[in-house]
């Protein structure tokens, strides 16, 4: 893990010095705010209806319903945000030639990767944390339980780590950041919607496998406040696989020269 700290700090500096981050943070938070408002408004309307007709929804908790929609919306925005956060990680180093500088310093490949991945996760966590105040305020006003919030944000972090590991790998494939972003976005989108195909395919076994592979299916439980070990294992294994592939790809890149 030699080189983790210097690389981590350098990546964070570069991230917070870059305009990409601020443009991204602006639109991410703007969209989150807009969704927060729209969903809240819907929930309020729905609450009026429920108040007049209590039989419509007997066991529905309004704060949980809100969290479910809000988290789901954030996860969809993340599909767009993750590729833009990760695209520069390795592609930029390759393009500028700084890869040669970095890899002739006494740092290990693993240390470099860990530093880059952790820096990207930190940036992502900063973005997520900026959406928390509204949620916390709402939960304390409504007096609802904290469990769905903790569980849901934990789920977002797991989802983020999967997205970011995939993006990191895509960034090693090319020296063009745009291509890296497109590849990440394309693969993420495919893995997102693959679960929707499960009812349409024959035999059902194949459909089930598609469901297991889908990144979105595993998130569905978490937005409801259900923490299932299978989902945690899925996201952990997903991230580990792509980080491993990143290491392999980097050493192969250097073998080929």
């Amino acid at each position: 893990m030699k080189g983790f700290w210097p690389v981590y700090k350098k990546e964070l500096y570069e991230m917070f010095m870059s305009r990409i981050f601020y443009a991204l943070a602006f639109f991410f938070l703007l969209l989150c705010g807009v969704f927060f408002y729209l969903i809240l408004q819907q929930i309020v309307m729905f609450s009026y209806q429920v108040a007049q007709n209590p039989q419509i929804a007997q066991n529905v908790s309004m704060p949980e319903l809100f969290m479910r929609s809000f988290l789901w919306n954030i996860s969809v925005i993340m599909l767009f945000v993750a590729p833009l956060l990760t695209m520069r990680l390795y592609a930029e180093e390759r393009k500028n030639g700084t890869m040669e500088l970095l890899y002739t310093y006494p740092v290990t490949d693993l240390g470099t990767l860990a530093g880059k991945f952790a820096a990207c996760m930190t940036t992502f966590a900063v973005l997520l944390a900026a959406t928390l105040p509204g949620v916390i305020m709402l939960a304390s006003i409504a007096g609802s339980s904290w469990k769905p919030i903790v569980c849901g944000y934990g789920g977002l972090v797991l989802l983020g780590s999967a997205f970011i590991s995939l993006g990191t790998f895509a960034s090693t494939l090319t020296s063009n950041q745009i291509v890296a972003a497109i590849v990440t976005f394309g693969v993420l989108l495919m893995l997102w919607f693959i679960g929707d195909a499960k009812s349409a395919v024959n035999p059902p076994v194949v459909g089930n496998i598609l469901g297991y592979l889908s990144v979105s299916d595993h998130f569905k439980g978490m937005v409801k406040g259900l923490l299932d070990s299978r989902d945690i294992v899925y996201y952990g294994a997903f991230s580990a696989l792509f980080l491993f592939l990143t290491l392999r790809q980097m050493s192969s890149y250097r073998w080929r020269g």
């Binding site: 700090k9 500088l101 006494p106 740092v107 250097r254 073998w255």
Partner: protein, 316 residues
């Protein structure tokens, strides 16, 4: 100390270098010469553990490039070709990162950075963003990061390329200062520069080493005749006829018509200058200039590089 032993590298089917072997002794400054695309950077990248060789081995300070890669990278200061730097960072921030990555302890980082900043004359720009600096300053930043952690081996790939003459002199001065008790391998295709700094040169062409020696030895080896430059005043027809008959003189050339400048090619084993001077005096000519012409490193280089290609032409 650097030792390369039969290094070969293929990029796919294309061979970049073939059986490259040479040594750089401790405390020596060696120039690594070759035309563009000869394999200089490939060799250097192998020595700095950036890419592995297809076959062959090399050691740096007695450490093997494949087995002790991390420790080698700890002892080497490397300036890659075209000086890649993190353009978004400030000079100070970048040097902090480089020092950390090179394993300089947190307590020593400040002192280490101010040392290299003053060696390379970067005090005025240390808070500026690297991307906004001039090429000369970028080069110095590149040199500064190579010097962090006081490496005993310095490998500089084209350190003065693309700089203006004053900047070249400046960089050369810095390298001169650094040579004490350091092993330096310096690649370049600007020959006068190498001739000035390096005691020994390794010449590579088309992926193979074609010569390894000091510039002076290479000159004497390759000089088949020695050339004397002569300028006379007054009438010199008589002298011209006489000089051609002097024993040891092989050829007399007038450098241009109408002037009295000559180039006289003679046997390299004897110094013909006293005889020629005596002859000129005897024939009543005024002697304005008389000197032997040294082969410059450029000429040696051209000779080696073209020799190779004519041989190849003959083979095929």
């Amino acid at each position: 100390m650097i030792e390369a032993e039969g290094l070969t590298k293929f990029y796919g089917p294309r061979g970049a270098i073939k059986d490259v072997s040479f040594q750089v002794e401790k405390g020596e400054v060696v120039g690594f010469l070759g035309p563009n695309g000869a394999g200089k950077s490939t060799t250097i990248r192998i020595l700095t553990c950036y890419i592995p060789p297809s076959s062959g081995t090399a050691t740096v300070e007695g450490l093997d490039i494949l087995e002790d890669s991390l420790r080698i990278r700890q002892t080497i200061g490397y300036l890659p070709e075209s000086v890649p730097l993190y353009n978004e960072l400030t000079v100070d921030r970048f040097l902090r990162f480089a020092a950390g990555a090179k394993g300089v302890g947190a307590k020593r980082i400040g002192a280490e950075i101010s040392r290299v900043v003053s060696t390379c004359g970067l005090e005025k720009v240390s808070n500026r963003i690297i991307g906004n600096l001039s090429k000369g300053f970028k080069q110095r930043v590149g040199l500064a990061q190579a010097l962090l952690n006081n490496p005993s081996v310095l490998i500089l790939d084209e350190p003065t390329i693309g700089l203006d003459p004053t900047q070249i002199i400046e960089i050369r001065r810095i390298i001169e200062e650094l040579r004490e008790d350091r092993t330096i391998l310096l690649s370049s295709h600007i020959l006068p520069e190498v001739a000035q700094i390096c005691k020994r040169v390794v010449i590579i062409n088309k992926g193979q080493i074609v010569a390894t020696d000091s510039p002076a030895n290479l000159t004497s080896q390759l000089q088949k005749t020695s050339t004397i430059v002569l300028e006379l005043s007054g009438p010199h027809e008589e002298f011209t006829r006489a000089v051609e008959n002097l024993p040891g003189v092989q050829k007399v050339l007038r450098t241009s018509n109408g002037t009295s400048k000559f180039q006289i090619e003679t046997d390299p084993t004897v110094d013909m200058r006293p005889d020629i001077a005596a002859l000129a005096v005897r024939k009543g000519c005024g002697l304005l200039e008389l000197r032997t012409l040294q082969l410059s490193l450029e000429e040696i280089f051209m000779q080696l590089v073209t020799e190779e290609s004519t041989q190849e032409g003959a083979e095929s």
